[in-house]
Each structure stands twice: as C-alpha cells, then as structure tokens.
Symmetry: D3
Subunit: 297 residues, 6 copies
C-alpha cells in the first residue's frame, strides 16, 4: 500500500521553493551546468578500459587467439564513443565558462581518446610491472590472480594511470572523476596529476593520499594511511606551477601512517620511512627514518 499523500498541496509548495532556489546567483549550479559531462558515463567508459587492460580477468566469454580481436574491439568501440562524448562536453563547458587559456579546441576529444587508446599496450606493460611489484612486495600474496582480482592497489593504480594520460592531454574534470571513483572503492586518493614511476605498490592502501605535484620514482612501495602532501597552502593566484608535494626517488618504502610534506622534500633512493613518521625535510639516499616507539617505554 503506497502512502496516501494527503498533503500534495504542501509537496507542490516545496517543489516551488526548490524551483525558486535555482534563480540565478542563488546557489551552486545554474542550469547551464546541465551540459556537464555525465559522471556515470565516464565511469562506464573506464570499466570498458579495465576490461581491455585485464581481458582474461573480466571476460565472461571463453577467449582464444581467434575471438580475442572481436572482444577487444567491442570494449574499445564502446569506450571510444563514451569518452569522446564526455570529453567534448567537458571541453565545451570550459570554453563556455571562459576558461580559454588552456582549453583545447572543439573536436579535439577524438584525438585525445585515440591517443589514450593507442597507449593501452604501454599501460598494460606498466600495469604488469605493478602487479609483479605487488607479488614481490606482499608475502601474503599467493598468486597473481588474487592481486588482479582483489588488491585495492591495482584498482587505484589502474585508475590513476588512465586518468594521468587524460590529465596530461589537458582534459578537465574527467581525470578526477576516474580517480575519485577509485578513491571511493579503495580509500586510496591519488591525484591524476602526480607523476609515478613503474613497479609501484601500495599495501592495504586505505587512507593513502598522493598530492597533485608529487613525483615518485620506480619501485616505490607505500603502506596504508601514508600522506604525500603539501606543507602550506599557496594562494591560487600565486600558483606558479611550483612543486608543492614531495619527491620519492627509486626504491623508497614508506610504512603506514607516515606523513611526508612539502615540494622541496626529497626522499633519497632506497630510503625507508617508518610508521607514523612525520617528515618535512629531505633525507639522503639509503636513509632509515623511524620515530621513537610510543608504547611501553
């Protein structure tokens, strides 16, 4: 039995109130924002790319050399169409908002998407190294399959690597939608702007934050709750493109809960930073940085 809506008059008045609240200048979005990208479509496109990146793990179909191309094509065509549409909407919106300095011309969405799709073999190579890094880095990992199926690390890094390509191509909004989607699923928050080398692994992952201008070398390994953040908050209009987040050289390991801040902070190659350490200055290669244990002394 449905609720008997005895006071539809009140409901209609509430609706009027909402409509009025959309009068210009009053609130968050004016109606023109309807031309914005569709979040769900972006995420659907990303899901097609995940299929193509890890075909054997996602395919419901029995695959072999002969029907592989057809299956790849299905997802590539779908991703292509969704992404071109959404990227064009994002570019169109930025132009409409008068954000003209960096915005690409209409129609460049297709070029961007074809660029991304042509990089998939290289992305597959990189993700293969990330999976191997997880296998090497986690003694509890019994096999490659667990990692691809279940490790938040791989889910978050896959989203980052795709989003980063779009970010580099100058696409607004879409990269962030992709990484925040992975953030929601994994608790790992990687800015699409960060630059991250190969063979990257994050164990457990919840609470990890990697800022927009962070730079990570190859073979870096992080644990849960690690923050690679900014020291101070520069005013936006003074933003001169300076690096605000730290640099981690090759082979650095950061244990859980550590916080490393500042654009001039460089963690030298092969260093190890202990759990819960708070670090705002550079350390030379090969350093071991541990805080004092807090319990029982």
């Amino acid at each position: 039995m449905q609720p008997e809506p005895k006071r539809f008059k009140d409901l209609e008045e509430a609706i009027d109130g909402v409509v009025e609240s959309y009068d210009e200048g009053k609130a968050i979005d004016n109606l023109e924002s309807a031309a914005l990208p569709n979040k769900r479509a972006v995420i659907e496109a990303f899901a097609h790319l995940e299929h193509v990146l890890f075909m054997g793990f996602y395919s419901k179909r029995s695959l072999n050399r002969d029907n592989l191309r057809h299956t790849v094509a299905e997802h590539m065509y779908a991703a292509h169409q969704l992404l071109v549409t959404q990227i064009e909407r994002a570019l169109h919106y930025d132009r409409w908002m008068g954000r003209t300095q960096q915005v690409k011309p209409a129609g460049s969405g297709e070029e961007v998407v074809l660029g991304l799709l042509s990089q998939i073999p290289d992305l597959r190579r990189k993700l293969d190294l990330d999976v191997r890094a997880a296998y090497e880095g986690d003694p509890a990992a019994r096999n490659i399959e667990d990692i691809v199926f279940s490790y938040p690390s791989i889910q978050a890094i896959t989203a980052y690597r795709v989003a980063h390509e779009l970010c580099r191509a100058g696409v607004p909004m879409i990269p962030r939608i992709i990484t925040e989607h992975a953030h929601s699923a994994t608790g790992i928050d990687i800015s699409p702007g960060a630059r991250i080398g190969e063979s990257f692994f994050i164990d457990h992952g919840t609470g990890v934050v990697i800022g927009e201008t962070a730079v990570l070398g190859n073979g870096v390994k992080l644990y849960q709750n690690v923050t690679l953040g900014a020291l101070s908050v520069p005013k936006r209009d003074e933003d001169d493109g300076r690096q605000r987040h730290p640099t981690l050289e090759d082979g650095v390991t950061i244990y859980s809960g550590a916080t490393i801040l500042g654009g001039e902070t460089v963690i030298g190659a092969g260093s190890v930073v202990g759990g819960n350490v708070w670090l705002v200055r550079s350390v030379p290669p090969g350093s071991k940085v541990f805080g004092r244990p807090k319990g029982g002394d």
Copy 2:
C-alpha cells in the same frame, strides 16, 4: 553447464538447519524484523534528493527555466513516496518494540518528509557554501565542477546535512542508513547527530570520524584521518545527554591524523591543530598546536 547438484539431500538438510536457527531467542533477528525499513529504498530516496540538490550536475536532460519544474517534481514525488513509506516502517517498528518514549505517532512520516522537502532551498544554500569552502580550501581545486562531481567531502556533507534534518525530527534508523552509505563511499564517518556549521570542508577525507555530540562552528576545515571522538565510554543507562565529543569553534583547522577527544574539549576559534596531534583538553582561540616531528631527530 550448471553444476550437477548430486547431493540436494544435503542441501535440503542445510536449509532445515537454517530454518531452525530462526527459532525464537536463538539468534539476531526474529522474523518480525521483516517490517523494518528497506535499506535500498532509503538510499534510492536519498539519490533523488541529491538530484534535486545539484540539479545541473545529475540531470541527463537538457534543462532550462521551462522544464525545470517538471524535473524537480519528478524527483520530489519519488523521494516523497519512498521516504514516507520507509519512515513509517521505522516508526512502526519502534512502537512495536515498545520504544515508546520518543516515538512519533503513526502517520507523522508525511509531516517529517514535507518538513525536510521544504528545507531543501536552505540545504542548497548551505551546500553552496560548503562547495565554496572546498574551492577556497583546496589549492588543487581548479573549478567548482570537480568539487561537486568528485570531492568525497561534498558527498559526505550532503548525506550528513540531509540525515541531520531527519535525526532532528526524531526519525530512527533512516539517518544512520544515509550517513553510513556515504561513509562506505567516502571513508568519512559523520554521525547524523553532530552539529556542524556552514562552510565546512574535509580534504581527502578517508578515515575522518565525527562523533554524535560533536559541535563544529562555521568555516571549519579537516584533513583525512581526523578523529573527533569521546574520551571514555559512559554506560548507556547513565547517558544523560551530556556532550561526549569535542567542540570546534569557528575557523578551526585540523590537520591529518589528529585526534581530539572529550565533550569538554573546546578548540578555540581560529586555532590550528597539527598532523597526528593527540588532544584531550581545550585550547584558547588562535592556538597553534603541533606535535614534535618524529622523524630524523
């Protein structure tokens, strides 16, 4: 090819075992709990409210002044019907359980929902301020659109602000379903009972916990992994409504990993609490509270 279930007899026995486990007194839920609210319906109702709160960002339709009212009405009617039904179920269940002291009379669900819906313009105004706070507070924020689409902060605060209204109206179960849904998506755990002022921003957000009796002024800013918790656990039957969680006055900033505990703890206006700080006492307005850096000394 489906599995050949050779031992359906065993399966039938397993079913019998489960059925027996529902004999009264044995386990978690007796069957009457079937009259409980439906979690999925509550979340669907909340999704309709999100549409209405950020129309331009969710609408698949091209919007303008003329068809706006129709689109608003679609979501308002849907939210109305779903919420009235679910709230009535929650109230009915509480009455059936003999929780009579605070429970509203049958049929009051409609009044509650109309109350909530009539507050939407004000919620939109508040969320507008929260979005602006995010824009001001995050130097990496390039535009308003990224924030509404992607920032966990906005998703969690929207859920909190809606749930808080239902909580204030005395609705059981439903507010918590809404905030825990956002908790699952964002890692941000805000109790619907907390009182939070305007222009609120949480950067990154994963691991933030804001307790039931916490009080936050305007312009508060939190980073990931901040806990605003209780110092000790009072016995329920001694619960006299005292504030168990801290108060943050206007303009307070708390950096990542800080823990602030206790109902008598007041962080004075404009104070800044550093990362990983553990704080169980009040500090005057304008304080800067930092722990000693733990690494490299």
Copy 3:
C-alpha cells in the same frame, strides 16, 4: 547525436595494438585466465548468504514461520549454484597452473559449499554475538537495527567469517574476493586467514588492517585505523607457516591509530592500547599502554 568517429582507421589500429599486446609473455594475463572465477558471481553468491544470515533485515517479503523455509531455500539454492561453479573454476585454474600441492580434486567444490551452508546456523550464532558486542561497545548505538543495517563492523565481520570458512577449506581466490569486497565498502581490511574469536567489534573501522596470521581472542574491540601487521617481510620461499602478525588475547581493546606488529607480539588479556601507540613487543594481561599526548605540552 553521437560523436562522428572520423578516424575509425586509427581506432582499428589501436585495437590491433592491444591484440598484439596479448601475445604470450608480454603482459599480465594470458588468455587462459578466462577460465578464472567471475568476481561478480562470487559477490552475488555472498549477497545471498547475507540474506540468509540476516533474513529479517534483507527480505522484501513479509515473513512468518510458514513461508520462511521457502525464502531461505531460494537464497540457499542460488548461493549453492553460484559458489559451486566459481569454486570449481578456481580449483581448476590452480590445477591448470600446476599448483598441485594443496589443491583439492575436481568436484570437491560441492562438498566445500555444502560444508559452508551447513555451518550457517553456527555463523548466525557468532554474528549474533558480534552484533551484541557492537551494542555493548558503542554508547551511541540506540538499537540492534542500526547496527545490522549500518555498522561497517558487521558488514566486514560477516564477510570475514564466511571467507574464513572457505579459506580453511582450502579454496583459493574466492575468500579474498569476498573480504576485499567488504574492504572496499567499509575500509576495514581483514585477511580471510586471520583467526578471530567471538563477540568482536570494530568501531568506525576505516583504515583497520588485520593480517593473515593474526590471532584474536573473544571480546576484542578495535577502533579505526588500527593495524595488526607484520614486523618484517620474510621471503616467500622461506615461509614456514610461522605467525607473522600479533596475538590479541580475550578482552583486549585497541584505540584508533595504534599499530601492533610482529608474530611474537602478544597483547595480554584485558589490556588496553591507547590511540596512535606503536607496539612491537608483548605486554602482560591487564596492561594499559598509552603514548605521551603530543599536543600542547
């Protein structure tokens, strides 16, 4: 209007590139991995088990003694079919990969599933105790319903308890898919291999990590961001089954952000470990371990 794909030739070339990247040895998965379990099917099976475990909370139907059996049977049959298929695929894959030492024979999936299903009454009894522990442990818990509907703790523990049974039965891949699904929803990362006693409660939960060989007694209570981890990373080929993660005896409470590491670390019964404490050695029963407050001194 769909995007006019002017450069399908480029798209077709990109597809060719992806197909080539699947040539053997080049990347993560070869095509035979198509015989792997289907992640979505595993999660669907788990959802059926959740229905059976908390019937009154999930059923859309009005339940009573008479139709209960039919409703239970619906979910048991569905879970049975899905799980047998997926477990057989996982076992088949492991055999195909030559991981012969521990792998169960073909057809044993049915036995495993019937074993799991016959344990459901006992799982229901344990989860009942977990729900009561949450009710006792959280002063903000107003009723049992909030806990079952909304507490991440219950969602994560339910997944763990089911996955643990499959893990004990020697099933590969599937247990991890189940616990990582809950990890994604709750931010709580419990290894299916951990051994956890009765009446377990995790408050808030985001960021909790419980390692593969951790052992927890009855009545343990954890807060958010607690890590029960390994001290050092043994080489896989030296893995002799030793315990790498700590033991928490009955009645231990660990506050938020604490880190306890090492397989020889034993936290004695009834001990309390304070927030953010870092602990790598055993403490006797009844200990209170707190770090020094970091702010304001």
Copy 4:
C-alpha cells in the same frame, strides 16, 4: 542531442487540458479505477503457471527429482502472491462499483488461488491430452516438443483452461485478461466462459472465435478462422443465462472458415463441417456438411 523544447508553455497547456478532461463524468475512467488490477501483474502470474504446467520446457535450470520441488515452489509462491493481490483488487473494485449480487467477500482471493493451484495436476493431465490430440491431429507434427514450444493451439488452450477455472470461481476481469493475452499472441479468441472437453485441438488457429456459452465435447478439432458464435444479440437486461453459442458433441471436426451460430445449434457427435460452411441449425451425429466448391464450375 535531445530536441530543444522551445515551447514548454504549450506543452504545459496541453497537460492542463488533459487534467481537465479527467473531471468527473467527462470521459472513460474516473480516477478511482486506479484501484483496478494491474494487467502486467496478471500476465506475469500466468507466466509462472505456464512454467509449472510445462516445467521441462520453460526451466532454465537442469532439473531432476531432487531439485524439482524447489523449482516448482518458486513459481507457485510467485503466482500465489501475484494472483491473490490482483484478484482481491478485482473483487474490491466490483464491490466498490456496487456490483453486489455475485461478488465474493473480501479475502476470498486466497481461497480462489489455492483452489486453482490445487487443480494444477488435473490441468496438467488435461493439457497432456490436448498435446496428444495435436500430435494425432496434425500430420506435420514431427514430435511433442514442436507442439509444446510452438503451436498456438497449446498456448491458447492453456490460457483458456486456467482462465476458465478462475471464471468458474466467480473472479471478474482477470480471466478475460488472460485469454485476451493469448488471443493477442495466437489470434485464437476463446471466451473463458466456454465449456470445452478433453483432447481439444485447433490447427493453425488464427481467426478462431469461440463464444461465451459454447459447449464442446471431447476430441473436437477446429481449423483456422472457425467461428462458434451467437445468432442474434439479446438485450443485456433480458439475458437469462440461455446458451447463445452452439454445442459441438464429441469428435466433431470443423474445417477452416466455417461459421456455426446459435445456442440451439447442436453438431452431432463425429460430424464433419467443411471449409467456409455457414451453419445455423443442428445436424445429427455423423453428418458431413460441405458447401459447394466455388471455383471453376
């Protein structure tokens, strides 16, 4: 790109026009008719009965003695719930309309449905005979499977036999919805009120009409476009329950396009009526009734 609705004002006016047309007395249905049965739900219930009647032909699941009961129960429960609800709505509506003379009391829907469901074994027996009659009667029938899968005859007779039981139980509206659904799919229009014996077959079937008070014995066979109709149209208020449509005794065959009219018309046992014959009077058993060929003389 969606159509730009430039003239929403006109659309809103059109909506106002429609709303006004629902003012009482103006048109077909007043709003109270919203309490009518839901046609789609009735047809869904009938589909569940078709499953139960021809289990092996509809089941997607591999069936055997052991899981048969579960599969039967699934469809029986679903049909039960749908039918009870819809029949109660139909009875409620009739009472509300003041059609009191024949209407069953509230709550009798359940009794009716249980009555129908308990007759399913007998319906299965009768449909078995109808299938055999089709096999015997159609020399092109190669096997039983073609008949059950594909013959419009079986689809129409199944609907009739179910609807007839509901009709006999005094249920309004629902029987007609079921037979007209089959009419739409097969072109065979059998009134739920007709009385039809066993081993009934209709070849091809399109255009067959069997009136409300027609009486057919066992072993009757019809071809396409046969009408068993009324001679004249009595005034409704003079309707004294007299038979208005013909009687066909056992073993009668009627070829395509023949028309037989009148409640006093009896076609004697074993008679054959030729194609396109127009018959308004009785014929004795064993008659052969043919018109003159029209072509070529």
Copy 5:
C-alpha cells in the same frame, strides 16, 4: 559451457560477406538509412500516450485530484521528447531522399507533437464513445473494465486514432509503425489514412482489414475477418487521390468474413451485411444483404 568456436576463421569470412553485401546498390538498405526513426522509440512514445488516454487503467500509482497532474505530466513530457525526435528523423530522412513535395520543414516536429498532445482531451472523448459502443454492442461485455483492459477493438482503435492525427499532419512512417504495432497485437489492420467516425466497434477483430481511403460513419460495427478493400490495383503514378476503398454510412453492421470492395461502393446508413458476403456495389440505406447459407441444402 559455451560452444567452442573452432572455426572463427569461417565466421570472420561470413562477416566479410555480409559487409560486402552492403556495397551500394546491392541490397535493400544503404547505410544512410541509419538516420531512420527508431521503431522501438515510437512504440514507447505510443505507450506513454496510452497511459494518458486511460490513466486509471495503466497507472501503478494511487491517483487522486492532487497528484493527477504530476502523473499526466510525466507521460506527456516523455511522449513529447520521444515523438519530436522520431518525427524529426522521419522528416529529415524524407527530405534527404528528395521527397520534397509534401515534406514539412525541419523543426516542425515539435509543432506536430504539440498539436497531437493538445488533441488528447478530444481523443479521450472519442475513445469514451468507442468503449461505450463496445459495451452496447457486445452482450458478453459485463463491464467497462473488461473492455478497456482486454478488448482488441479498443487497442486497435486507440492506435488508429492517434496515428490518424499524425497522418493528417503529414508525418511519414510513424503512423504506420503505430498501427502495425496494434495490428501485430490484435490482428486488426486499420490504415492510418482511413476516416472513421465515432462510436466504432469491432467484435473479436482478428483478420479485419480497413483500407487507406475507406470512410466510415458513426456507430459502425464490424466483426472478425471483415475486409474493406480496393477492387483493383491502380498504378501508383496514376494515383490521383481517388477513393479506392468503400464508404460505410452511419449505423452499418458487417458480419464476420464479409468482403466489401471498391471506392464507389457505398453501404447505406443502417444497413446490415451478413457473414461471408462478397459485395462490390452500393446498397441503399436500410439494406439487409445476406448470402445463401452454404451448409445442408
């Protein structure tokens, strides 16, 4: 287990064959026909109109004066958007094909749809009369509800009346899609071009054919298998708009299987034409035209 496609090479060759068959001039459709209307969208739009025409019979929602407008608006907006898009595609296609003489200008789709929607109150009035004609004309009709729910007559006439309006407005393709959809469901084939008066009823209906230029007065009643057809087939290029199908004046009744042919054939008011009669010339008002009975003489 899916079929092992051993011969994908053959399948790929078959695909090549099909692609080649689309080379211009070879077969039915060239690829530009992709800009044609979408049949499914047209039928969906018509379903929305059926809702609005018989609100109380289709609504799943409990309706009353207060929420009626919202429910009407939902279907009107949906029908509007679907129809404008599809009509524009049909008009665009006709212009593209160079069928310039009758084709409306681009953008006139909206005008046509608003015209149709503003006529809905009048269509409701006419359909009300058609329903009453069915009630008067069929002694087996027990109530209005059976007629609206189940009579093929009403389904076919509703489709005709809507399609006729679009036909009169010069819309190509769409009207025929609507009437053929009803033809498929009812076996009643009414050309959208026919002109049919008020209070029209078709009993049983299967096999009825009403040609493009037929003219029917008020109160006409047809039985199943009646044909109102053309005598001879004029060459298309000689088509001078002459009436090719018969005229039935007010109150004419035609019994089942009768065939009436020719544009100059006029059946005078109040005439009755008997079953299976073949008629190619006019008869005066009040005529009774019967063939000789074919059986038993």
Copy 6:
C-alpha cells in the same frame, strides 16, 4: 502491503501435488526435457540476424563504411554463439530420444550455423526482392521504409527464409520456433518446410496458412486469410514424402479468403484466384478463377 498468506500449509500441499504429477508417465513432459532448446534464446538469436539483414533499419548507432564491420560482427558473433548452443541442444535431445535416422552428429551445430551465416548475403538479396515486390504490389506503399519497418509480410518472410535454411540443414525444433514466433506477431503461418520463390508478397496477411509441402514460384502474391492446405490427413506412418499441399507457379495471385487444397493441385503461371474461392483441382496457366458474388443477387 502484500497478501497475508494465511494458508501456506495449503499452498505447500498444492506444491506437493504438482511435484507428484511429474512422476513418470503421468503427464506431458518428463524432466529430461530440461535439456531442450531455450525458446527465448532462439528468438534472441533470430533478432540478431534481423539486425544483420536490415542493418540500417535496426542499428541505433550512426553507421558508415568504417564502423559497419564492427557492428555486423557484434551481431554475427552473438547469433553464432546462441544458435550453436541451441541447435546442439536440439540435436542432442533428438539423439537422446532415439530419433536416429535423420539426426546429425554432435558438433555439427557449428557447421550448420556457419552455413547459415555464409548465406546471409544471398538472403539479403532475396529479401530485397521481397521488399520490392511489396512496393510494386501495394499501391498504398509510399516508400520502402514503411515496408521494412511495418509490413507483416516482410517480418513473416524473413523468419521463413531463415527458418527454411535451418530446416533444409536438418535442424529439428528451431525452425518451427522461429516461424511460429513470426506467426504470433503477424498472423501469417508459413511452414519452414514450404518452398517459396523470389519476389514474394503477402498483403495484410492475417490468417494466411502455407503448408509444409507447398511449392510457390517467383512473383507470387497472396492476400489475407488465404489457405494453401492439405486435402486429407494421411496417416503419419504412411507418410512417404509425397506433396500434400498445392503448387503455385510463377506470378500467381490469390485474393483474400481463398482456400486451395491438395498436393496435386497446381495453379498455372499467372493465374488469378478470386476472394473466398475454394479450389481443390488444378487450373491451367493464365486462369481467372472467381466464385459468384454472394450478396445482393
């Protein structure tokens, strides 16, 4: 509110009754018939073929030379997989039933399907001629699009032409499922065994029956309600493959309601048979066969 099922005991008893009715020998289908083809899957496969046969009319995507192949491949792959599975099931069932004389060996389903798919270009050529025949034969046809979209003739002939190929390849059950599906939608009943030439057209179509051994030349045109049937019903075991249905030579036209019976009946080339004529003997080429008009003499 769901119906309160007060008498579940009765329902459970009814279920027991149904289960018992499946005891062997009692009724229509024994449980092994669960291995039968799935009707819905067959119809879905046919829908994919319709897409490929009339690409431009069904595609939702904007098509051009470049993406055509991908779109064709999508449907070909889908049809291939569905058909191979269903045909194998049909063949398996026939072998299991011991119908060994004509049954193809296991695994031949793939060969059959590839054969069918490789004939699609030729089927497209034939359907093109059928569409043209409709355009030439119906003066009301304004354009090709109406015919492909809406004419029942094309829908029925497409199903026949596909089913006939499968029939010729010796596939059981599936061809009939396809033609009866079209019969249900169009009222046109063409046996998959009939042999029909090119440029075939059926106007209106409802009630047309074309028997299993009928032979039709090129350019044949039928109207609604035409029967091409058998004179007498031979006993099945005497069935020696003789032709039981008539032959229509090239260019024959048969008007509505005519009935032509008998395997030795040959309608000579170019003959015209008038409406309602009943014909059981051959006529020479060029004959005009009309009955006497029945009305008004």
